[in-house]
């Protein structure tokens, strides 16, 4: 082998990306910056308010201090109601989302039409925010926790249904095949072959969704759907910032505890 041949066969330069790929990447970077700049310029933001934002923040903090500890007594009942709304809403969700998940999973649905119906329900549920569902159900059931429970459930069905349906689609086909090969009926295959495989996901997402629902149900009161949100809303409207401080601390505490519970339970599931 001559020196030239050797150099051609074993070159010293190696690049991960071709110049063309590098160029494409920079075009993407520039476009993203452009989109961000365009968004901000289009929003008509009053920069004027930024000038004294730090003063407003300090002012708010001073008005919140000291928190109105006596208010705690009034706060307890709505706080418990908030937790109940989240828990009952999650329970309703599990009952409704479970069958829908099987419809929305390709390998357990009956046909293309049932699959589409299942997916449609899941997408519809997720495309509407909990607070918007709350507005709808307050119109139907009147103000109060019942509207809140349904609002929570209708938003959560899409979340749980989607995750469980994905878990069903990812199960081990082999075990299902083996159960089918024994001459088991469709329902038996579902119960013995498929359900045990998705149970951890069902448990896990239920607890996880309950934890999210506690956070969501704290604002449901803003639209009259029960819970501590009603209190928070009225305290803000009356500029009772010392009460607001107590409510925020209480909500923070409950959310931390529910997250702890949810994390522990999900870790224990095998």
């Amino acid at each position: 082998m001559t020196v030239e041949e050797h150099a051609r066969r074993y070159p010293e330069v190696w690049r991960r990306f071709s110049p063309r790929e590098t160029l494409t990447r920079y075009v993407w970077y520039v476009s993203i910056v452009f989109v961000a700049v365009w968004s901000v310029s289009n929003l008509d933001i009053s920069w004027f308010y930024f000038l004294d934002a730090h003063l407003q923040l300090a002012d708010l903090a001073i008005r919140m201090w000291p928190p109105d500890v006596a208010f705690t007594a009034l706060l307890l009942a709505p706080l418990v109601e908030t937790i109940h709304i989240a828990t009952l809403g999650t329970a309703v969700t599990v009952v409704i989302a479970f069958p829908i998940a099987f419809l929305a999973a390709r390998n357990t649905t009956f046909n293309a039409a049932t699959w589409f119906i299942g997916r449609f329900i899941l997408v519809a549920s997720r495309s509407v925010n909990t607070v918007v569902w709350g507005l709808l159900f307050v119109a139907i059931f009147g103000p109060g926790p019942v509207a809140g429970i349904w609002a929570i459930a209708f938003r959560s069905i899409g979340f749980m249904g989607k995750l469980v349906a994905e878990a069903i689609e990812e199960i081990d086909r082999g075990a299902v095949e083996a159960i089918e090969a024994t001459g088991a009926s469709r329902l038996q295959v579902l119960w013995i072959g498929i359900l045990p495989q998705v149970l951890p996901v069902i448990y896990g997402t239920t607890v996880y969704r309950w934890d999210i629902n506690i956070r969501e149900s704290t604002v449901l009161g803003f639209v009259g759907a029960g819970g501590i949100g009603i209190l928070l809303y009225s305290s803000i409207n009356q500029f009772q910032w010392r009460e607001v401080a107590v409510i925020l601390v209480a909500v923070f505490g409950v959310v931390v505890v529910s997250e702890l519970i949810s994390a522990t339970v999900r870790q224990r599931i095998t």
């Binding site: 081990d172 082999g174 075990a175 095949e177 083996a178 159960i179 089918e180 090969a181 024994t182 001459g183 088991a184 009926s185 329902l187 038996q188 119960w191 013995i192 072959g193 045990p196 495989q197 149970l199 951890p200």
Partner: protein
Amino acid sequence: MLEVTDLVKVYPTGTRALNGVSLTVDEPKVIAIIGPSGAGKSTLIRCINRLVEPTSGKILLDGVDIASLGRRELRKFRRRLGMIFQEYNLVERLTVMENVLSGRLGYVSFWQAYRRRYPPDDIRMAFQLLDRVGLSGYENTRADALSGGQRQRVGIARALMQQPDLLLVDEPTASLDPKTSRQIMRLLVELAHERGTPALVNIHDVGLAQSFTDRVVGLADGRIVFDGPVDRVTAQVLTDIYGEEDWSTTIREVEDEEEEREEAGVSRSKPPAREKKDEVTLGVAEGE
């Protein structure tokens, strides 16, 4: 018993996996199906219990054509065909007992299965089989806590719970180490013989096929190119099945195996009918 005629399977992709396979099983023997990857071994076995739908051809079991059965009759018929898989295919999060009893699903109602209330006869049979495959005491262990060899024993017990008329065995040892492979093959062959159940065994390992089975069927490109007793498998036969290769070491394994078994103190003769059902198999379970 089993009579497969002109079986053809064309997959939607256009692959002709089976190209007119005819096969007769008329005595309770263990039949090895050998052949290169993609020759159609798995497809053949899966067509018999219609986990794969055959394109054309007949599969007669005691005179009934499985290929033309409706959904309902097929389910009933599948109870007579026990299947054992390469990846064991247990429901991992269920216990050993639940997995073994799932072999009875074709015989019990949904509610019995739902409440895990199987008939007493089934439960006794399950305990006997667990003992026979060397897993007594493991009934409440979850399947995902078992080793590969133990899982395959559960798979064997589940298939036998069906009291099948034919065993379909798809690569039973391909995921196991050589020692466990031999133990599993030995157990499988013993059980098939003592129960008088014929077995079709897909197997990659020609050496194992030669040491444990009675008859060998060679598949190549979806056709049967050899069908005969195990001692007629020569280098030429293997070349017909797999293509040109130096087969001398593969063939010689037969003698190696027999020597090994003599050393281990096992009698060379393997009578078709072993009566002692409670006898524990060699080297079972421990240390796997």
